[in-house]
Amino acid sequence: MKIRVYSLMLLCLIFAAVVCADDAPIQSREHQIKAAFLYNFVQFTDWPAGKLAEPNTITIGLLGEHPFGDAFDPVKNKTVKNKRLNIKNLGRFRKSFPQSREGHQTVDDAGKLEFVNYIEQLRKCHVLFICDSERENFKAIIDAVKGYGVLTVGETADFLDFNGIITFIPGTEKAVFEVNQKVCEQEGLKISSKVLRLARKVITDKDPAVDKDK
């Protein structure tokens, strides 16, 4: 009855793998690489003068249930473009804030102010990474930051259809991304050719596919 012994051991091993591994912070190599890409995007993008005028920070905002963990730790507070790099966790997008405990919407002024402040935070970002978890609100988010010179980055195949600027294509073995140059220009951003060269696809004005969502 060696078989049973072995099966038991197999089970133990699987169990060990699951228990040990399941609670590990999700910060895969994939997202370490993507974090480094975001860092590079900051370096290789020129923002309009106004966007860089104010405080002495450059902000990468992370919106949604993001899987970066502490991947950004090595570059936190580092100086980029003569400014301090700020990594900001923005949590999940709050479309209908605030809500009372019962779930009814309240429309008091304090609540409105909080919501406005939240949107303001999004608009202040230089790079805004929007996770797949916010898929339902892609349009609302991108509309909210439209005209504020925010480099929006996603990791969903159809992110560019919502007028996002850069998206990492899911299901690839290496980082593969596409750039929506048209929206980029509308926002007054200039992405270096160094980045554009690496893109799998760059959507320009001539490409009508971008207008899908309008």
């Binding site: 099966s7 040990c20 073995e173 290496k174």
Partner: protein
């Protein structure tokens, strides 16, 4: 019964398992130190591969494909220490390998027939079909035409594939994708030494001239003296008491891939020479002149162009060589060598179109042709017994539609018609309904019919009236398969698959002893009916641990006698895990394979067995240098595979514990 019986070995196993568990936990602790990708230039960043296995690709593919699919990536091949394609297939749910100390044979879903050469499985290399045109063999051991180190990805697509691929795709299609200069850049030198006086060396060079032009060239040399063997069937002073040492194996491989825009070229040449130690075919046992030479050459050109997002064309043309030479030593008042040979030369061409006429339809259609320039068989010694020269042509047309009926429902329907000079036409459909309940759950219902055309060996081989005569006219074998597949993501780390299948094979070709002249001849004799289930769990964690566990059960029976088939183990269990021990540097790959007992040709049983393989891989000892150490059959389990009709051995012993050390340097 399991053949491990010493308590010491069991204790060792338990210790290993515990150690491994500890390593898993240790690996987690190490996982939090992120590698500094921030220091890497952006161009190089784009070349860094995400963890490893194309797990995401796998998920994506399986849920879309009208079949149950397994993918094995180069990274796993390295970290599990696989030596040949046969090792890769051995680890895959539902598959098992039989080795007769000359060739490796693939068994799928309980089916593996002794006396033929994997003719019911189609193997593709970069899309080019490589089953040769004499025996239809696919050869997955050291005869496989590409060095395992040059394989980037192996896709195993279970079930009938004739509706797209035509001949041979009865039980599975195995698509081997090789490396190119994008996946192997610069110079790579690799050397390995292993048990049984085995050495392998390889040098490869990959260069990207620009984005669309690249070249990879590689050369490999392999030599093994093989273990000393003892066969109890020959335990007699006249036959060296059953002791032999002519299990030697040797091959070279020259390989090239190049891409220029939409065109890509694959060229490979692999000659292999093997000593045959088993005294098969009643040959003179222990004579080292008993040997086989096989070589295969593929030169294939592929053209791929996407005219628009909705219309693509793919064309391919390839030329193939296959040579077999067997030297068989016989004793008839003095030793003499009987020579058996085959010469295959053929052209393959295919033109395929893919179009999306509307949002909801994806159409694939195409035409394929195979022109067999030579299909020659010869057998001689002092007399010539067989000198058969053939050439032939066959072609097929196919169409498949992937129709998104509703939001969550996709219907895939395809049909292919093939025409052969030998037996005429055959038409084979496939129907699949895929229900994507959610991102996590996919259900597939599949039906398919597939065929195998009788090959020239079955049709025309004869030895001048000694043992075999030519059949001259045979019908194709067919299979009908029904399958239901459930794919379920269990959480963010784990996904599972359950598949239940039933298949029926008809007109299966087998040798028949004609009582009128006492000669063996191929006939469309048998039927096979099989029912089975396959379950698999795949896991992948953020700390780099990944693995799969699978169990499959099948009952494959003879359609007439209802007896369980020979060489058909009912239960297969496989457990594979790769875990980092030092993050980004040291990895352990553990594989535990269980195969239940299998009936032999004499209605005995080859015992069930567990085989455990362990590989440690240390990457970047210094930049670009990798060391790996493997132990195969860690617990030195004694086991054997059922022999064929050509063997006196009912069961052929397999290797005990063996080792390999491999050093690879990239610069």
């Amino acid at each position: 019964m399991c053949t491990i019986n010493s308590a010491g070995k069991s204790a060792a196993l338990i210790a290993a398992v515990l150690l491994f568990g500890a390593a898993l936990c240790f690996a987690e602790g190490e996982a939090n130190a992120p590698q500094d990708f921030f220091a890497i230039p952006i161009e190089d960043l784009a070349e860094q591969s995400y963890t490893v296995s194309g797990a995401s690709k796998y998920e994506q593919k399986t849920s879309e494909a009208p079949a149950s699919v397994t993918i094995v990536m180069a990274d796993e091949i390295r970290k599990y220490g696989y030596k040949t394609l046969a090792d890769v297939l051995q680890s895959v749910p539902g598959m098992f390998i039989t080795y007769d100390r000359n060739y490796h044979y693939i068994g799928v879903r309980g089916f593996r027939k002794s006396g033929d050469y994997d003719s019911r499985i189609l193997v593709l290399i970069n899309g080019h079909r490589v089953n040769e045109n004499i025996y239809d063999s696919t050869s997955t051991g050291t005869t496989f035409p590409v060095d395992i180190d040059l394989i980037e990805k192996v896709e195993i697509i279970r079930g009938p594939g004739s509706s797209l691929y035509g001949n041979n795709a009865l039980l599975a299609v195995i698509n081997v994708i090789t490396k190119n200069a994008k996946t192997l850049k610069g110079v790579e030198i690799s050397g390995e030494v292993a048990s049984f006086d085995t050495q392998k060396e390889r040098i490869s060079y990959g260069k990207n001239f620009d984005e669309s032009h690249n070249l990879l060239v590689s050369a490999t040399s392999y030599k093994s003296n093989g273990p000393a063997l003892h066969f109890k069937e020959f335990d007699d002073p006249a036959t060296h008491n059953g002791n032999v040492s002519n299990d030697d194996d040797k091959f070279y491989n020259l390989f090239l891939t190049a891409t220029a825009g939409d065109l890509s070229l694959t060229a490979t040449y692999l000659p292999r020479e093997k000593g045959v130690p088993t005294g098969s075919y009643e040959t003179y046992f222990g004579d080292s002149r008993n040997r086989t030479n096989d070589d295969m050459t593929l030169v294939g050109l592929e053209y791929k162009h996407d005219f628009t997002d909705d219309f693509a064309v793919r064309g391919r043309v390839s030329y193939h060589h296959y040579n077999y030479d067997g030297d068989w030593v016989y004793d008839d008042e003095g030793l003499y060598i009987n020579k058996d040979s085959a010469r295959g030369r053929w052209w393959e061409s295919e033109l395929q179109f893919i179009a999306k006429p509307t949002e909801n339809h994806k159409l694939t259609w195409g035409i394929e042709d195979r022109y067999n320039v030579r299909q020659d068989q010869k057998n001689w010694d002092s007399d010539v017994y067989l000198d058969d020269h053939r050439h032939s042509n066959n072609w097929g047309v196919y169409i498949q539609d992937e129709w998104k009926i509703f939001d969550k429902w996709t219907f895939i329907g395809g049909v292919r018609h093939d025409e052969y000079e030998s037996f005429g036409g055959t038409t084979n459909p496939r129907l699949a309904l895929v229900y994507q309940h959610s991102d996590a759950t996919t259900i597939k219902l599949l039906y398919g019919r597939a065929f195998r055309a009788p090959n020239v060996y079955e049709l025309y081989y004869n030895d001048g009236g000694h043992i075999m005569k030519a059949a001259n006219s045979l019908n194709p074998e067919t299979i009908q398969t029904y399958e239901a597949v459930l794919e379920q993501k269990l959480n963010k780390n784990l996904s599972g698959t359950i598949s239940a299948f039933h298949y029926e094979m008809k007109d299966v070709l087998d040798q028949y002893l004609d009582p009128s002249d006492d000669l063996l001849v191929f006939r469309n004799l048998n039927e096979v009916k099989a029912d089975g289930i396959e379950t698999a769990i795949l896991g992948k964690w953020a700390n780099g641990v990944k693995g799969r566990a699978s169990y499959s059960f099948v009952e494959a029976r003879d359609g007439q006698t209802n007896a369980i088939l020979a060489s058909s183990p009912k239960h297969l269990a496989k457990f594979n895990v790769i875990t980092p021990i030092i993050q980004n540097n040291l990895f352990a790959g553990l594989e535990v394979l269980y195969t239940s007992r299998a009936k032999t040709l004499t209605d005995n049983y080859a015992d069930d067995f567990w085989v455990t393989n362990l590989t440690l891989t240390y990457e970047n000892i210094v930049k670009g240098l990798e060391l790996s150490a493997s132990v195969y059959n860690l617990f030195d389990v004694h086991y054997g595979n059922p022999g064929g009709a050509e063997h006196r051995q009912d069961i052929i012993e397999q290797d005990g514990i063996s080792f390999r050390v491999k050093l690879t340097y990239r610069f």
